[in-house]
Amino acid sequence: MKTQTKSKNLVVPRKSGFSTGAQMEILGLAIVVVLILMATIYIVSFLVIKTPTDYRKGFVSAELASNMLNTLLKTAAKDCSQLTMTELFQDCAQGQGIVCSNGQDSCMYAESTAKKIFEKTLDKWNMKYEFLAYTDINAPLVKAGSRCLSEKRSKLFPIPISSATMYAKLDICG
């Protein structure tokens, strides 16, 4: 009888100690499995999931600034003896000898026409932009839109004038 009780007394604490250790091992294994799973998901998300490429945006932004400026400079002013916008900008930089049939000088007419065109295009398409025509960038002759605060697509077009070179610059933001 004595031996039986002894053996019973010996077995009980050993059994409970083994159970706790095994539980800890399983918990450790579970943590390892979760970590491996997370690492796999992280790696797979980098390797398999591709970042989307916006081909159209690249094409549109590349075409837009240059086409906009080229087209604007070629456009004939309806109230200024059909002079082109380039000729109006040139006159604006060279002393404003031209007065249009609506009474505006070349600088004012060019600015109002540019603003009118941008209103019906870039503003309508919710695009931010800055247009400048200048000989000295710190004192622009014609200005439309507001400065781009971050990324921009820019097009600079040199226009020859008698004294130096003036520039027409269009920045499309974003």
């Binding site: 799973l37 998901i41 797979v44 398999v48 999931i49 591709k50 989307p52 490429t53 916006d54 081909y55 159209r56 094409f59 549109v60 075409e63 837009l64 086409n67 906009m68 080229n70 087209t71 604007l72 070629k74 456009t75 004939a76 002013a77 309806k78 059909q82 082109t84 026409t113 009118k116 065109i117 019906k120 295009t121 398409w125």
Partner: protein, 150 residues
């Protein structure tokens, strides 16, 4: 026996979760590729329209870039209606229109073949010069190309 079943159950659950994850990733990649393909198609159609000889300005056989001849538009419209199959190969499911913004406002529908129940639609607006050969003056216009895809 019970332990083996439990382990196998957990194993298969993990396999199923992994498979679902993989399928979702592949599905999203396919959707993405489909979207990229639609975008490329839209860019392709836009470029084809910009360089259509039926619309492009030319003088003494010299082509002017980014320019559309106003006098060619009417003929191009009727030509595209008469040769629908040929232009469908070029422009597919899309709508092409030209709007004059300055000096006077005007609009021309060049090609129209929309897709019913389309899933995505891309609108590309390209500023373009509109040349009037009779006055030899340029106006400011916008070439709008809408492409549809399922």
């Amino acid at each position: 026996m019970g332990e083996t079943i439990a382990v196998l159950f957990v194993f298969f659950v993990l396999i199923t979760i992994g498979f679902i994850f993989y399928v979702k990733v592949v599905k999203s990649n396919i959707e993405q590729e489909k979207d990229e393909f639609s975008q490329l198609r839209s860019v392709g159609v836009a470029q084809r329209v910009m360089f259509l000889p039926e619309l492009q300005c030319s003088e003494d056989n010299i082509i002017k870039d980014n320019c559309i001849d106003i006098l060619k538009i009417d003929s191009a419209q009727s030509l595209m209606k008469e040769n629908e199959v040929y232009y469908y190969d070029l422009l597919q499911f899309s709508e092409v229109s030209i709007s004059q913004i300055y000096p006077v406002e005007a609009k021309w529908e060049i090609y129209s073949r929309s897709l019913e129940g389309f899933k995505s639609k891309f609108v590309t607006n390209i500023p373009i010069s509109l040349y009037n050969p009779s006055t030899r003056r340029y106006g400011f216009g916008v070439l709008a190309i809408e492409t549809f895809s399922k």
